[in-house]
């Protein structure tokens, strides 16, 4: 049995109960405030984390470009980084083919298990899209959710390339909240970083391929030259004769290389090839050329250039072009045969010395016959007619034509020098030689000294050349465009300032490396031909002299 509380105890108890209720109320109120503050802070950190996620994703994905992953295997690791950073349930990278068709193939997916990767059709695909519980299941939500077979997706599509990225979740409040417009940065960042890395890897792969191809070609060229030296030596009567024969043959190859480079090494036109080879003799109607435009693949172009060079050299030395009244007629046409179409070339000399068949077959004859037969599955027939040499060549068109896809538009041919200038203007001049290749400097010095000019230098670096140009008397200069891995243009600027004529010697087949302010400077392609070097230098000096006179 409990005794009733005394009035004072009851009053104390009442006061304590009120006090307790007060503390409880305040405690709960403070607790609620703390709870909300904590949640606000967490939300802020989660949002900040998302922002960092975009930066982290981009950083990590860009690192992939340095790992050597092939471009066609990039989708997997990029997708892993995207999944890692977005914490989505599933993700896929897609490719539209053809671009603009709305037909997407899954390149790579994560979270879809072993399910077959099907083609998805998304009519008029949006560049950005997301679904929430409120999104009606109509196009494009219907198609996009179907790709990942999940109700909540986030999508980005690059219209120009046809690539798309989609991520998806089973639950709307994945980890903490549904997709929203602010996620555009995340999904588009993911897609664009994939496209960036893909483009970079593809460019690097193309460069590697190019280097391999270049290496292959250089080795082939060296092997060809090595063989040429051996064969030429066997028939040359003197070192001078050997040097001349070799220089001519190498120059013929170089000219063809230039033509092929003009067309990105896809094709060269037969007419251009002929013109390049025979230009020095095409005066006063001594060389008549007739034929339609005929593109050649690189192999055929190189082979035919050597044959044309041999025929021309022979004509100049012993045949119709060795006398003023002699002529060469060169024509070509397509023929139709049961075995397929062919190209037939006819070289006919006339007006020259009487021809008698040679006692032995020289290198030129052998080269013509074998190059035609072995290189291009063709045939060559040489007739030593009394009126002049006649050479007929016939090739299957299929063997000499470039593939249809390789028919690139030609870069306009470089301006050609035609007027002849007397080389004796070079005698007594001081010519600055800027060149870092030892063999080339020795050649240049020999050529210049041969016409009475005095080589200055050679300078093998740009600073050295600038010093010489600033301290020595210079009448003209030959500048290698790239000296010790440095552009020579500061030297060119100085010479131009001083009014000193100069020419560029360059191994580059295109003009792209020459700055606009020096586009008018004559360019001497490597390898050098003595006559061309001297002509260009003489012309530059004459022009400068004329402008000075005027």
């Amino acid at each position: 049995m409990t005794r009733p509380l005394s009035p004072s105890h009851a009053a104390t108890l009442g006061r304590l109960e009120r006090e307790l209720a007060y503390y409880r109320r305040e405690c709960n109120d403070l607790g609620a405030r703390l709870l909300r503050l904590q949640e606000e802070q967490s939300s802020a950190f989660r949002e900040a984390r998302r922002s960092r996620t975009v930066a982290k994703l981009i950083r990590e994905a860009h690192r992939l470009a340095d790992t050597g992953v092939p471009s066609d295997e990039l989708a997997g690791p990029v997708l892993e980084i995207i999944v890692d950073n977005t914490m989505c349930d599933r993700a896929a990278l897609l490719s539209e083919s053809p671009v603009g068709s709305g037909r997407f193939t899954v390149l790579r997916a994560i979270g879809l298990g072993e399910q077959p990767l099907a083609v998805s059709v998304v009519p008029d695909p949006p560049s950005f899209f997301f679904t929430t519980a409120q999104t009606p299941l109509e196009s494009p939500a219907y198609e996009l959710t179907g790709i990942l077979q999940l109700p909540y997706v986030l999508w980005a599509y690059d219209r120009s390339t046809g690539y798309a990225l989609i991520i998806g979740n089973r639950l709307e409040a994945n980890v903490s909240r549904p997709f929203e417009p602010g996620d555009q940065e995340l999904i588009e960042g993911g897609l664009s970083v994939y496209l960036d890395v893909l483009a970079r890897r593809r460019a690097e792969e193309a460069q590697i391929l190019l280097m391999d191809e270049l290496n292959h070609r250089v080795k082939n060229i060296l092997a060809t030259i090595e063989a040429m030296v051996g064969c030429s030596a066997a028939e040359a009567g003197s070192p001078e004769e050997l040097a001349e024969a070799l220089a001519g043959r190498i120059a013929a190859m170089a000219r063809t290389h230039d033509l092929l480079t003009d067309a990105r090494w896809r094709s060269a036109d037969l007419g251009d090839l002929v013109e390049e080879e025979m230009r020095p003799y095409a005066v006063a109607d001594r060389v008549r050329i007739a034929g339609e435009r005929q593109p050649l693949n690189p192999r055929a172009a190189l082979s035919l250039s050597l044959i044309l060079h041999e025929l021309t050299t022979n004509a100049v030395k012993y045949g119709s072009l060795s006398v003023p009244e002699g002529r060469v007629d060169l024509s070509w046409s397509r023929q139709v045969h049961a075995g397929g179409p062919t190209l037939r070339l006819v070289w006919r000399e006339s007006g020259g010395p009487s021809v008698t068949p040679p006692v032995r077959r020289g290198f030129g004859t052998t080269l013509i016959e074998r190059a035609a037969a072995r290189d291009l599955n063709g045939a060559a027939r040489l007739s030593f007619e009394t009126a002049g040499l006649r050479c007929e060549l016939e090739y299957p068109l299929a063997r000499i034509s470039p593939p249809a896809a390789a028919m690139a538009p030609r870069i306009p041919a470089r301006q050609r020098v035609r007027d002849s200038v007397r080389e004796d203007v070079l005698a007594g001049t001081r010519v600055l030689v800027v060149e870092d290749e030892l063999m080339l400097t020795m050649t240049l010095e020999r050529i210049l000294k041969g016409v009475g000019a005095e080589p200055v230098g050679p300078a093998t670096t740009v600073p050295e050349a600038l010093f010489l140009a600033g301290s020595e008397r210079i009448d003209a200069a030959v500048l290698d465009v790239n000296v010790a891995d440095e552009p020579v243009f500061p030297v060119a600027d100085m010479l131009r300032e001083q009014g000193v004529p100069f020419i560029f010697a360059t191994g580059y087949a295109t003009d792209s490396v020459i700055p606009a302010r020096h586009k008018d400077v004559p360019r001497l392609p490597k390898p050098y031909r003595q006559d061309r070097l001297l002509q260009m230098l003489a012309r530059a000096l004459a022009r400068e002299s004329a402008s000075g006179d005027g």
Partner: protein
Amino acid sequence: MIRVAYGKHASAREAVEQCRRTLGVTRPCVLLAFCGGKHDPAVMLSALRGAFGPDVPIVGGSAAGVIWREGFGYSGLELGLAAFSDPAVAPRIVAVRGPRQNERALGRELGARIAETASEGATVLMLYDSVASTAPLRLHPASAIVEGVQAGLGRRSVRLIGGGTLTDMNLSDSWIFDGAGVAKHAAAALVFPSAVVDETAILHGCRPVSTFMKITRIDGAEVYELDGEPALAVIERMLGISLGKGGGEDLSLIATLGEKQGDPYGPYDENSYVNRLILRTDRATGSITLFEPDFRRGTRVQIMSRDNALMLDSVRSGVAAINRAIAGQEMLLGLYIDCAGRASARSGAPIEEADLVREALDSAAPLLGFYSGVEIAPFAGYSRPLDWTGVLTVLRRR
């Protein structure tokens, strides 16, 4: 000798190969494997057997994320392995598979098998799959499994630690490797020999933000009333928001219900609280559903706020305590069973608390951890399931 390896790749075989390269040529007697939930468990198992031998017992399961000495990840593509190659410290494996609904029976059977195998006081690591069903979402109640295990153990006393596995942080699914294969609605236990003992710390992070309330109506894990008022209304009033039409899944990111052990009016001590995460809410009934059904009518609870700063402090002090305990000992394996909700992506913590663990734990201990649904550890002399905790255990030689 226990060695730890980590791999990450969309291809299970590649992830396994990465681990194999770390471990070198080895034929472990037991393999503990935690695997990101985006991997197909059958493919993963096949890859593991291909790399480490067809007969090696593989225990572990899906993980919402994996923690290792050099990092952590929760992309779903991770794989963490602990390879036991020394039979003297390798655990024996017992496992049971059971019906979806009767977790207590499952636990009892497992407990009985543990009792047959374990020495007195043995350390036992138990793993089970957390998600019982997804539509509607129902978790396997760890409290029922643990109660069953305790009942099955009979007089045998063990130090039970463990966790419930998840495939991701959204409670999408779960599975385990139980030594024989891939299993659901199953539990496996690694029973360590007496040569192995554990040092375990429970890392907390919740703070009470209310006065005591009494659960006045409850059915299983579904709490209908607190102090005679609809539980959902109480929570909403505390938060100052209406939870809207959704299932209230995001509540698990914000608040828990905590039961204080011991003297209710004693000073605040994080180690005094058992917390229960809120799985979902039901506006029609005004109820909230907890992760575990172990609270009863009359249980005095407080609403607890997850406190990230407190969590990080708890990690620092807990790891320091473990380091003191294991100093000078032969450490075999550090095992971190970390509630998925503590990852910064979910908690919003400015610092990843797993980073604190892996950086601060004595570097001589090989470390493997996984993000879990529920953690189990000895608490006040009795192993019980915990929510929103990190259970850090270091196995050492006796």
